[in-house]
């Protein structure tokens, strides 16, 4: 490293963060730990939020499998239905449901942090925004159930 002046630099296992070439004094850099995501509550929440997104991915795979089975004809479709009714599958789906609900809840909370709705000089409180999101979600779920009941 080309450092001007009477430089003292750290041993090479420490990577200088930036502007290192210009720094004319000794300094110390701590490496970030690999387990940073366990350290604070907010970090753990973040990790949980990201981890539960994998369950959402898993569910879309199951949906894709369903479509694939449907396209392959009645036999494949029946096989898929039988797989769905196995106790293992039911447990898996229950776990996925819980994880996705958690994931959705975290995003409702985050959305309320991002979304600012102003009425004049007043900002709509975050709790009300979350409430609105939950209401829309319940409404849509109700609609889906209604359609399901209608076509059954």
């Amino acid at each position: 490293m080309a450092t001007p002046g009477p430089a003292v630099t750290r041993p090479s296992e420490h990577t200088p963060i930036s502007a290192a070439g210009r720094r004319r004094y000794p300094f110390l850099v701590k490496r970030p730990s690999r387990t940073w995501w366990l350290r604070t509550r907010a970090y753990r929440r973040f990790a949980a939020r990201e981890a539960t997104s994998l369950f959402a991915a898993a569910f879309s795979l199951i949906l894709l499998t369903f479509l694939f089975a449907l396209s392959r004809g009645p036999q494949a479709y029946d096989g898929f239905l039988r797989w769905l009714q196995r106790p293992g599958t039911v447990i898996l789906l229950a776990v996925i449901l819980v994880a996705i609900l958690y994931h959705v809840a975290t995003w409702f909370r985050l959305t309320s942090q991002i979304l600012v709705i102003r009425i004049g000089r007043l900002v709509v409180p975050r709790k009300i925004v979350v409430g609105g999101l939950v209401a829309v979600w319940l409404l849509l779920s109700g609609l889906v159930l209604y359609l399901y009941a209608l076509f059954l």
């Binding site: 963060i17 604070t40 973040f46 985050l110």
Partner: protein, 249 residues
């Protein structure tokens, strides 16, 4: 009655003594109304004058006394010892910054990033002085006021795991500062700031951990500034694609 004391474990780094940091333990007299900074000042005045740290205002305004207190980035002038008493407190330099000495970190990277976002009102064409001030309604001030409260304490950078892994990341306070000007009705410099904001090392590096907003002593909510910038940049990009004239603004 014997005087109550409290133990401070303070990280020391004195390059002339060796390449690594070490812990020093100090016992300081404890009073309920003492803040961490008072304890450090006591150490410096009465125990070890070589202890090095930054501070100035002692009232949460100057933003220079930020350190890790028991692993969390805090303003030491606004953090009471009673929060931890009688357990010992661990004081370390702000994380993710190069340490120059004891508790003093190098702010160069942060200051350069602040400058990169061009934190001033940019006009396509300056009005002549005779034309008067650029007026603003209280509603227009509301739009950016929160993001103008930053005291540059760098706590948000220390709390940010993305900045810890990737020092190129523009970071919370700089993006909040960019938003402060982008949302200012007098400003027309959005597209200039986009050059550092709308790139991988700008807003898109952020994974919305949200800890920056948790530790911010001024409720600036830099995490919200970043996510809102993501939304507005994307909408403007899409608008520009379907409606070239509108989207340019």
């Amino acid at each position: 009655m014997a005087e109550e004391t409290m133990t401070l474990r303070v990280t020391r780094y004195r390059p002339e003594r060796g390449p690594d940091s070490y812990l020093d333990e100090f016992d300081v007299p404890y009073r309920e109304d003492m803040v961490v900074l008072d304890a450090l000042n006591h150490i410096k005045d009465d125990i070890d004058g070589s202890l090095t740290y930054r501070w100035s205002c002692r009232m949460g305004v100057c933003g220079s006394c930020g350190m890790m207190v028991n692993g969390m980035p805090r303003l030491t002038c606004s953090t009471y010892l009673r929060e931890f008493h009688p357990e010992p407190v661990v004081i370390e330099p702000l994380e993710s910054f190069p340490v120059i000495r004891d508790l003093v970190v190098d702010m160069t990277d942060f200051l350069e990033k602040l400058r990169e976002v061009k934190p001033w009102v940019i006009r396509e064409r300056e009005d002549a002085v005779e034309e008067g001030e650029y007026l603003q309604t209280p509603e227009e001030v509301d739009r950016y006021k929160q993001f103008s409260m930053c005291i540059n304490c760098m706590l948000c950078y220390s709390a940010c795991p993305v900045y810890a892994q990737d020092p190129e990341f523009l970071g919370p306070a700089a993006i909040a500062l960019a938003s402060r000007y982008n949302l200012d009705s007098r400003d027309q410099g959005r597209s200039e700031r986009d050059e550092v904001l709308g790139v991988d090392t700008g807003i898109w590096d952020c994974t919305f951990v949200g800890e920056c907003s948790v530790v911010c002593p001024k409720d600036v909510d830099p995490a919200a500034a970043i996510q809102r910038t993501k939304v507005s940049t994307t909408t403007r990009g899409m608008l520009a694609a379907v409606w070239p004239h509108r989207g340019r603004r």
